[in-house]
Amino acid sequence: MLGILIYSATLVTQAATLALFSLGLNLQWGMAGLVNFGHVAFMALGAYTTVLLTLGGVAWYLAALLGAGAAALLGLLIGLSTLRLREDYLGIVTIGVAELLRLLLKNERPLGWLTRGDFGIQSFPKPLWPNPQGNPLFGWLPPNQYPWVLMVVVLVVLAGTLVLLQRLSRSPWGRVLRAIREDEAVATALGKNVFAFKLQAFVLGGAIGGLSGAFYAWYLQAVYPSNFLPEVTFQAWMIVAIGGAGNHWGVLAGAALFQLYNSLPRFLPDIAPGQTEAIQVMLIGLTLIFVMVWRPQGLLGKKAELLLHR
């Protein structure tokens, strides 16, 4: 029984990490209309940066922030080179950068001193770990109860990010982003520096994606290049679409629903041995179709917005 409880802590941590990851995409695509098909690159960079820095002795929270900073820097590089171009170019470049980064991580093996290629990195410090030396906060907690600690940390970070994004959305800054999503030419004609706003949104979304990478590494307790396949990006796209693009609470709902479908089949009796994964994918596809038919605006999106003509 206790095992299932701890497992549920891990499930919540996973869902919260996915939600955090998707919030970054929601800022870029949902709010500013930026097509990012390589969001997973930010997560990968954040995860590896955090892991390597903590192995080098940097405190976990500092390492995670630096991971987010590295992801922001990547966002800046991509943004500076592509955001002036037509939007489809951004989609192409981001997917390319994400694959490039993954292949770099994978093929670093011959050198073997940094990311260890396909072997991945398995043992690294985690936040507030109840270590033998006695963690001042959670020293009393047996190590197998650790998932609870991580769950609390990720939920706190998720809540903070949500507050931040809600405030940004309601500000004049958020209004300009929505204007850009609707019609760039109008925003320009009204004196808004469209490129600068897009760049800010892209970089901030990338930083949030990078932050989610730290939690991804921490709950998996290992990082491999194969964790960061393109499909991870499209999970975020599904979550944003299911929840309602541009709606931050919708992203949370989307992530929860996604996680439910992703983990429920594991509890089902093994009706078709070895095919649980296929059933999962089918269920997710079915949910997506169902949501798009029943609520094309997403779970928390506004229906009225879909009925407007340009």
Partner: protein, 259 residues
């Protein structure tokens, strides 16, 4: 009629040219717009009027030529900077931001907003709220003045074509422009609304805003404009008072074609 009293030139463009492939859409075109005037820009379809508009505000980069606005060369500036200097353009088919409310469309346009700097969103909460309040009052006042006060909270995408035209103009005024550039304000507008729009333009002009208007409707040009510039096939044809232009044989030839 606008006034002829001020001889100062607000906008002067010279030698503006733009080719698309082998087509010279705008070829060595000049214009001079006196401060406080309502200046018309006419010409047959395909004369290059809208392209010329786009060159003036840098929505298209000109191949050649200069634009001096309010005593300062602006052809080297990006379009949003030009807008910030006070050149406000509207579009031939009005472009409102559908999924923003009418009021949000207005608020968006206000210049110098602290809350648009994304670090300020954290620090300057009170200042931003106060600015939003002030802008809100101004926006509602403007909306009331064009008869859109009652739809302020609606999505802009729910407005009719005529209402969109009014919103686009009111939105432009939120920026306190020196020059309003209207691309066919009369197109697709019923006679009653057209009369209303012409009234607004005259009223705003009396408040000191200079206008440049592209228009096909000669009645509008005749009643509003101080001076009219005619383009044909991408080049300056003539310019003069509306009466001079209307009866000029070359203008008639350009519109009807030479036999």
């Amino acid at each position: 009629m606008g006034s002829h009293s001020s001889p100062t030139i607000l906008l002067q463009a010279q030698h503006l040219s733009k080719s698309f492939g082998g087509v010279r859409a705008v070829d060595d075109v000049a214009i001079a717009i006196p401060q406080g005037s309502i200046t018309g820009l006419i010409g047959p379809n395909g004369a290059g009027k809208t392209t010329f508009f786009n060159l003036l505000v840098k929505f298209l980069p000109p191949d050649r030529g200069s634009v001096v606005f309010d005593g300062r060369p602006v052809h080297g500036l990006p379009p949003h900077k030009i807008a910030q200097l006070g050149m406000m353009r509207t579009f031939q088919v009005p472009r409102v931001l559908s999924r923003l409310s009418v009021l949000e469309n207005m608020l968006l346009a206000a210049p110098g907003q602290h809350g648009e700097r994304f670090w300020a969103v954290w620090l300057g909460g009170r200042r931003i709220r106060q600015q939003e309040r002030e802008m809100g009052e101004k926006a509602l006042e403007l909306l009331e003045s064009v008869g859109l006060g009652h739809v302020a909270t609606e999505y802009a995408g729910a407005l009719s074509g005529g209402q969109r035209k009014l919103l686009e103009m009111a939105r432009g005024l939120m920026c306190d422009p020196k020059l309003m550039m209207l691309d066919e304000p009369a197109a697709g507008v019923n006679p009653a609304l057209l009369e209303q729009i012409c009234g607004y333009i005259e009223a705003w002009n009396r408040q000191g805003i200079t206008f440049l208007i592209i228009e096909h409707n000669m009645d509008v040009i005749m009643s509003l404009c101080d001076r009219v510039w005619v383009l044909a096939e991408g080049r300056n044809l003539i310019d003069g008072t509306p009466a001079e232009v209307q009866s000029h044989p070359r203008v008639i030839e350009a519109y009807l074609g030479s036999a």
